[in-house]
C-alpha cells in the first residue's frame, strides 16, 4: 500500500493549483479552443462599444463641423424652414434657418438630474440604514427583495404615473402652496404639473431604489465590531449611525449617488412624458416646462427625417454623443471614487 502511494507522489516542484495559470504545454486542444472562444466572446462587447462610438461620431461629424461652437452656445434647436432655399456653411448643407443649440437641453438635463439626486440621496440613505439597522431580520429580507424589484420597474410606468396621478396632485396641492410663498424662482404658473419640478421628483422616485439597494449592501458590510464598540462606549443607536456607519460608507454613498445620477441623466421616456417638452427656453421657474437631451432625441427623430439635407439627424446624433460623453464620464467618476466598493455593489440593472 505504501509503495503505491510512493509512486503517486508528485515531483518536488509543486504544480500550480489554479486553472488560470496552467502551463502552455499542459493545454489540450479543446482547452485552446475554449481559450480562443472565450477571448473572442470577451472582446465582442468592447468591439460593440467601439463600433457604437464610431457610428455615432461618423453620423454626428457633419453636424460637428456645421455647428462649430455654436452648438454649445446657442439656445435655439430647430430643423429650419424646409420650404426655403438650402443654406451652406463650412461645406455642409442645411435647411434655411436651421440652428442646433444644445444649451437649454444640457441645462435641463443637469438641473432635473441634480434636483432628483438632492431629493433621492437622503431618502435612500435613510431607508437603507433603517432597513439594516432598525428593522427585524425577517422584514429586512422581504423589504430588500421589494427594493430590488422596485429598481426594475419600467420607466414608462413611472412616466405614466407622473403625468396622470402624481403631477396633477402635486400641482393642486404642493405647488399651489409653494407658489403662494412667493419665493422668486419657486413661483410661477404650475399648470397641470408637467415641468421641471414633477420630472425631478419622479426621477428621484425612480433612482431611490437603485441608490438605496447599493447603500443597503454597503451598510451591511460595516463591521459589527465597530458598531459594538460604539455601543460599548455608550453611544445611542443614532449616534452609532452618525459616527460609525455613515463615515464607513461615505465614499460608497457618493458612488451610489453618482450611479443613480447617471441613470437620471440618461432617462428618456419618463422625462419625455412629464417634462412638457419646452424648446429653446431656459426654465424660468421650477414649475416651468423644459426638455432634456435624451427626451429631445426621442421627440425630434420623426421630424428630423423630413429634413432633405439630413443635417437634423446628424445634429441629433451629436446630441446623443454629448449625452453619451456626459453619462460615461459621470459613471467613471463614480467608479474611480470607490474602487474598493466595486465588488459589493449589486448588479441592479442599468447604470449600476
Amino acid at each position: 500500500m505504501a509503495s503505491v502511494l510512493e509512486e503517486r507522489r508528485e515531483p518536488a516542484v509543486a504544480p500550480s493549483l489554479s486553472a488560470r495559470s496552467r502551463r502552455r504545454s499542459e493545454l489540450t486542444g479543446p482547452d485552446r479552443a475554449l481559450g480562443a472562444a472565450l477571448t473572442v466572446a470577451g472582446l465582442i462587447p468592447t468591439l460593440a462599444l467601439a463600433f457604437l462610438a464610431y457610428q455615432m461620431v461618423k453620423e454626428a461629424y457633419p453636424a460637428i463641423i456645421f455647428n462649430g461652437w455654436h452648438f454649445f452656445t446657442s439656445k435655439t434647436f430647430t430643423i429650419g424652414n424646409l420650404y426655403a432655399p438650402i443654406q451652406h456653411k463650412r461645406g455642409y448643407a442645411a435647411p434655411h434657418g436651421a440652428s442646433y443649440g444644445v444649451l437649454p437641453l444640457l441645462v435641463g438635463t443637469l438641473l432635473s438630474s441634480v434636483f432628483a439626486l438632492i431629493l433621492a440621496v437622503p431618502v435612500s440613505v435613510a431607508g437603507a440604514i433603517l432597513l439594516v439597522e432598525k428593522l427585524p431580520q425577517r422584514i429586512q429580507g422581504t423589504l430588500g427583495i421589494f427594493l430590488e424589484l422596485l429598481a426594475g420597474i419600467p420607466s414608462v410606468v413611472f412616466g405614466l404615473w407622473g403625468v396622470y396621478t402624481f403631477g396633477p396632485l402635486l400641482s393642486r396641492t404642493v405647488y399651489k402652496w409653494v407658489d403662494s410663498l412667493g419665493i422668486p424662482w419657486l413661483s410661477g404658473h404650475t399648470g397641470a404639473g408637467e415641468g421641471l419640478a414633477t420630472a425631478s421628483v419622479v426621477l428621484a422616485v425612480m433612482i431611490i431604489p437603485i441608490i438605496a439597494s447599493i447603500t443597503r449592501e454597503l451598510v451591511r458590510s460595516v463591521p459589527t465590531v465597530a458598531k459594538e464598540g460604539a455601543v460599548a462606549l455608550g453611544l445611542t443607536p443614532s449616534e452609532t449611525v452618525r459616527y460609525v456607519t455613515i463615515p464607513y460608507v461615505r465614499t460608497g454613498i457618493i458612488a451610489a449617488a453618482v450611479l443613480g445620477w447617471a441613470r437620471a441623466l440618461g432617462e428618456t421616456i419618463a422625462v419625455l412624458i412629464i417634462s412638457g417638452n419646452a424648446l429653446n427656453i431656459y426654465p424660468h421657474s421650477i414649475f416651468a416646462p423644459f426638455s432634456t437631451m435624451a427626451a429631445t432625441i426621442a421627440a425630434f427623430l420623426d421630424s428630423a427625417l423630413t429634413d432633405p439635407t439630413g443635417m437634423a439627424v446628424h445634429a441629433l446624433a451629436q446630441v446623443g454623443l454629448v449625452l453619451l460623453a456626459v453619462t460615461i464620464l459621470t459613471n467613471f467618476g463614480g467608479r474611480l471614487l470607490t474602487r474598493r466598493f466595486a465588488d459589493q455593489a449589486l448588479p441592479v440593472g442599468r447604470g449600476v
Binding site: 462587447p45 431618502v123 420597474i153 405614466l160 396621478t165 443607536p237 412624458i273 453619462t327 465588488d343
Partner: protein
C-alpha cells in the same frame, strides 16, 4: 511518531520549529527535543475568574438592549400622535383660520416631533431623546419613499385593471378598434407578440454571448479581462436612448432597412448585454476556488472544469442573471420607440414591418389622450408591471440559493446517481472476484 513532518502540526512546519508538547504545567514552553523557549510563558493552569465587583452605593449595572421596544416607547409614540393630531385639528378647524392639506401635514409633523421629544424627555436623558427623534425622522423619510413607490404600482394597476379582466385584451389587436369601442373589443395581443419576439431574439443573442463573456472575465483574467470589465461597466451606463439611436443610425440610416422587430431586438440587446455580463460575472466569482482546484487536482482540463464544475455550480445564479436581464429588457421603451415603429396591427414577422412592444404600446396609447385608449394604455402598463414582478419573483426563488447549494430535487437526483454508481461498483467488484 517519527514519520516525518506530517505528524506535527502545520504551524510547526511553517515556523520551522517543533511543536510544543507539554502545556499543562506552568513556566516556559518545553519542546519535544528537550529545548525550551523562555519567551513563551504561561501560568499554572487555573480557570479564569472574573473578579467580583463591589457595588458601593451604585445600582447594579443593567444590560442595555439596543433594539428592544418597550411599552413606554409605544405609549410615547401614540401619545405624541394623538397630541399632534388634536392640536393640528384645533389649529386648522377651530382656533385659527389655517387651511390646506399640505399645511396640515407639515404642522402635524412638526407638532408630532415636538410632542414626542417632550414625552420622551420625561423619562430619558438628552442623548436618548435625540436618538428617538432621529429614529422617527428616519422612519418617516423611509415610509415616504416606500409609500411613493407602492403608489406607483398601485395607481397603475388601479387605472388599468378594468380591461385586464376581459379575455379579448390578450387575444385581439387594436387594428379594428375604434376610439370609442367598449372594453370587450380590442386588446394588446399584438404588443405581447412583439415583446415576445423582440425579447426572444435579444435573449438568443445575449445569453450565450453574455455568459461566455462572464466566464472569460472570471476564468481567464489578465489585462485584457480588466479592459473588458471596464468596457462592460461603461456600457451599463449607456443611456438606452443612445443604444436606440445607434441601431437607428446603423440599421435604418446606413443600411436603409425599415423599422422592424429585429432592429428593436438589436437595440434591446445592446442594453441587455452589459447587465447580463455584470450579473453573471458577480455570480461566477462566487464559485468557491477550491472547487476549481479540486477539479484541476483530478486532472481535468480547463474546459472540463468550466463545463462540468463552474457552470453547473453557478447554474441558479446564472438563471437569475438571465431573468433579471429579461426583466430589464422587457421594460425598455426608448430604444424600441426609435427602432420598432408603431402599429395597431398584429405583426408576427420580426424581419419586416413595424412591430410594437408592451411598453411602447402603453406609451403610445396613453399619448392619444382618448379616454378608452388611455385606459387600455394603463392596462398594458399594469400587465407589463405584473410580468416584471413575476420575473423578479422567479429570479428570487431560483437565485435564493448560494452557489453550489442544491435544491431538494437536485439533491434527490444526486443521491440516486450516487446509489447507481455504488451498485455499478459493487457489480464490477463482484465480477472481478
Amino acid at each position: 511518531m517519527s514519520n516525518g513532518p506530517d505528524a506535527r502540526g502545520l504551524a510547526s512546519v511553517l515556523l520551522g520549529r517543533p511543536e510544543p508538547q507539554e502545556r499543562l504545567d506552568g513556566g516556559s514552553v518545553r519542546f519535544e527535543d528537550g529545548s525550551s523557549d523562555p519567551t513563551i510563558e504561561f501560568g499554572p493552569t487555573r480557570r479564569t475568574v472574573v473578579p467580583r465587583r463591589a457595588h458601593v452605593g451604585l445600582p447594579p449595572p443593567v444590560r442595555r438592549r439596543t433594539r428592544q421596544v418597550t411599552s413606554s416607547d409605544v405609549y410615547n409614540l401614540l401619545g405624541a400622535l394623538l397630541v399632534s393630531l388634536c392640536t393640528t385639528y384645533l389649529l386648522f378647524g377651530v382656533l385659527a383660520s389655517f387651511s390646506g392639506l399640505i399645511g396640515f401635514v407639515i404642522v402635524f409633523y412638526v407638532i408630532f416631533l415636538v410632542a414626542y421629544a417632550v414625552l420622551v424627555s420625561i423619562n430619558e436623558r438628552g442623548p436618548t431623546v435625540r436618538d428617538k427623534i432621529m429614529t422617527s425622522v428616519l422612519y418617516s423619510t423611509a415610509m415616504l419613499a416606500l409609500g411613493a413607490l407602492s403608489w406607483v404600482i398601485l395607481s397603475t394597476v388601479w387605472r388599468g385593471h378594468r380591461p385586464l379582466g376581459h379575455l379579448n385584451f390578450y387575444t385581439q389587436d387594436l387594428s379594428t378598434t375604434g376610439n370609442f369601442a367598449p372594453r370587450s373589443k380590442g386588446g394588446a395581443a399584438h404588443a405581447l407578440v412583439g415583446t415576445l419576439w423582440q425579447v426572444g431574439i435579444a435573449l438568443v443573442l445575449t445569453v450565450p454571448l453574455g455568459i461566455t463573456c462572464a466566464v472569460f472575465l472570471s476564468e481567464v483574467g489578465g489585462p485584457v479581462a480588466r479592459l473588458v470589465r471596464t468596457v462592460v461597466e461603461a456600457m451599463t451606463a449607456l443611456p438606452s436612448i443612445v443604444a436606440g439611436l445607434f441601431i437607428y443610425i446603423t440599421w435604418i440610416v446606413t443600411l436603409h432597412e425599415g423599422h422592424s422587430g429585429l432592429a428593436a431586438a438589436l437595440a434591446i440587446s445592446v442594453t441587455m448585454l452589459p447587465i447580463m455580463i455584470r450579473a453573471a460575472d458577480v455570480v461566477l466569482r462566487l464559485v468557491p476556488g477550491n472547487l476549481r482546484e479540486a477539479s484541476c487536482a483530478l486532472g481535468a482540463p480547463t474546459w472540463r472544469t468550466v463545463w462540468h464544475v463552474i457552470l453547473p455550480t453557478a447554474r441558479s445564479g446564472l438563471t437569475t442573471s438571465v431573468i433579471l436581464a429579461v426583466a430589464w429588457g422587457i421594460g425598455e421603451t426608448a430604444p424600441v420607440l426609435l427602432t420598432a415603429g408603431y402599429t395597431t396591427y398584429m405583426n408576427t414577422n420580426p424581419l419586416r414591418g413595424p412591430m410594437v412592444s408592451l411598453p411602447l404600446a402603453a406609451y403610445e396609447l396613453v399619448k392619444t389622450g382618448i379616454k378608452t385608449m388611455v385606459e387600455r394604455g394603463f392596462a398594458v402598463a399594469a400587465f407589463l408591471l405584473l410580468v416584471v414582478i413575476v420575473l423578479f419573483a422567479i429570479a428570487r426563488i431560483v437565485g435564493g440559493r448560494g452557489p453550489g447549494q442544491l435544491s431538494k430535487m437536485q439533491r434527490r437526483r444526486a443521491v440516486r446517481a450516487s446509489r447507481r454508481d455504488a451498485q455499478r461498483f459493487a457489480v464490477a467488484d463482484g465480477g472481478r472476484a
